[in-house]
Amino acid sequence: MQISRRTLLGATAAIIPLAAAPRARATDSVIKIGVLNDQSGPYRDVSGLNSVACVKQAIQDFGASSKGFSVEVLSADHQNKPDVGAGIARQWFDRDGVDMIIDVPTSSVGLAVASVCREKNRAYINVGAGTAELTGKQCAPTTIHWAYDTWMLAHSTGGATVKAGGDSWYFLTADYVFGHDLERQTSGFVTAAGGKVLGSSTYPFPSTTDFSSYLLQAQATGAKVLGLANAGADTVNSIKQAHEFGLTSKMRIAALLMFITDVHALGLETGQGLVLTESFYWNLNAKTRALSMRIKEKTPNNMPNMVQAGCYAGSLHYMKAVADMGVAAAKASGAATIARMKAMPTEDDAFGTCHIREDGRVLVPAYLFEVKTPAESKEPWDYYKLLITTPGDQAFRPLKDGNCPLIPA
């Protein structure tokens, strides 16, 4: 009998730490925001802990306590896996009493978390994922999509490149949903503008580091533009290698998704002259400068990009809606909170005043930037020259083309 008791004790001892884990009950006056993003993989620098810092900055700037409630922030790493992301979201809602999830880069994870939020009726502000499906066929009454999407990138960067004479394209595409989406949408704009797509190489993601073979194939077609339908470290690598193989003397590179953090990794020597689209730049105006300096105190090695700025703006606007409708009502229904957010114009230091469309799309302006030469750059992170501004109502896919089921046809 002694034996069995020991076995029993051993087994229960292993369980106790789990049972003792905090089973927080959300009290009435506390709002919980969950920042779910990549904190260890290829998009760590694009979102990661800097996004968390931006959400905290928003809470500080908003001053929730003076409005009668307090805000807590949770964060987790979804490792770019849809199952991990959906699992964390479920647990946050069921057990930790989280009221809103923000950021969620990587399209597949962004979509998976969107369906959990819809099922559990909790607010969801996606900033980091690219796919335009979030406001298209898979739109939901609980979803808002903030800073950018694949349609906007293809339209802005792709469209501008064709206008500048780049009428024949070769695509270098990461073999996953986001890459295919970006390639398809950009091809659409290229052919609509009278250009031609001469071919594409679809490479294995995420394990490819050597792009030289695809670059040679691109060169052999004689295309004028090399379209990079990829992101993060892949984009940085393919640009570096394009320089190495002398492609840049004959071809123009269109990096369809690139953030200021990528330009920082690439260096101006290699990056100069690239054209890219972001909806935020720290040095755009007095307000963005002041905001970025406030954030930089929290993240000394980084300047916010559009995703991180979107996390700031999104959580700020969310808290305004909560204050407006009351904490109890906000906690009761994510869809109601999102509806209230859509009814109010956004107003923040990062994107200015914008409107949120019925399908959840935030109509931020899209800026086409050119990367400065080392000689033009006057201070650290002084990287961009503004070329073209597309106003928010023209920067995104027209409402009727998205086939969002929320919109009566």
Binding site: A11, L18, D77, I88, R90, L111
Partner: protein, 310 residues
């Protein structure tokens, strides 16, 4: 139960009690995840712990099971029990082919062949249209058990998962303690001797392989219904690595080791998630500690201290 001793009987009783009690103490979805991985690890342990074959490609069967279950449940609207069974059968079908190829080689080469074959399955899952590529198969309905009982509620599906786990676990345990299991152990200890005694060792190994892959497919299929999603994570080689970690940490060749390993690894991933890359660092340190300090694993060490067979 024949072949088991009293301490194992007590441990079984404790296990069943825990399976019944834990969802009221712990978060049920978490417990279901542990049960699915525990079943997967137990299936893997059948090969490494009792036949001495290290398969480095078990994610292929787990993942294929998950995809087939998710696809048939979503597209054909099959009831959950049939979808899960189909997941297991497809795992076993793939296992028959892979096993037939791989058992001709031993030790490291066996591990390498299974790894290589699993990489091909991964490639197939990336490219094949039905798997949904990187998105995976999302929004899989949990359906109605036997077409009648809705499983949408977490506690409803919990009991189904618990029953599947216990049946699979008892089946594996029964195999280990059967005469068939004795021959498997003989092969592990000394294959030429088993051959010279007249056993067709290749057939034994193949049957063990197919059984293991069948259960792995069931585990994958069950997990895909619980979470409503089947993705590339389930077929990636790091999943094969994870099941090795669970089994090693719990104790190779022990009955309860894989369950303990699955519990600890899943809990760790859950509770360390807020700390970013420290998950990988901690996992790595556990690997190192296991190899250097306690090669018998948690359950193996406990059993050795208490002089029990668990």
């Amino acid at each position: 139960m024949r072949g088991t001793n009293s301490s194992q009987a007590v441990a079984f009783a404790v296990l069943i009690a825990l399976v019944i009690v834990s969802p009221s103490v712990l978060y049920p979805v978490f417990v279901m995840k542990v049960l699915c991985f525990a079943l997967f690890a137990a299936a893997f342990n059948l090969l490494i712990g009792y036949v001495g074959l290290l398969s480095f490609g078990h994610a292929a069967f787990f993942g294929l099971g998950a995809y087939v279950t998710a696809w048939t449940a979503k597209t054909w609207g099959l009831t959950p029990e049939i979808a899960i069974l189909l997941g297991g059968i497809s795992g076993a079908a793939l296992g028959t082919v892979f096993g037939w190829l791989a058992i001709r080689r031993q030790g490291l080469y066996f591990a390498m062949i299974t790894l290589a074959l699993a990489q091909m399955v991964y490639f197939f899952c990336v490219e094949a249209p039905f798997t949904g590529g990187e998105d995976g198969i999302q929004q899989v309905p949990r359906g109605k058990l036997f077409g009648a009982l809705s499983l949408a509620n977490d506690m409803a599906i919990y009991w189904v998962v618990a029953v599947i786990f216990l049946i699979g676990f008892f089946l594996l345990n029964r195999t280990v303690h059967s005469p068939f299991g004795q021959v498997m152990k003989a092969i592990r200890e000394n294959e030429p001797r088993a051959t010279s005694l007249g056993y067709r060792t290749d057939s034994y190994k193949l049957i063990a392989f197919i059984l293991s892959t069948f259960i792995a497919g069931i585990a994958g299929g069950t997990k895909s219904l619980v979470f409503g999603i089947a993705t590339l994570t389930d077929v990636h080689w790091s999943m094969s690595g994870e099941v090795v970690l669970m089994t090693l940490l719990g104790g190779l060749g022990t009955i309860f080791g894989p369950v303990m390993g699955a519990l600890v690894v899943t809990a760790m991933e859950n509770y360390l998630a807020p700390f970013g890359a420290w998950v990988t660092v901690t996992q790595g340190l556990i690997f190192i500690a296991c190899v250097l300090a306690f090669r018998r694993g948690i359950v193996g060490e406990i059993a050795a201290r208490l002089k029990l067979a668990l």
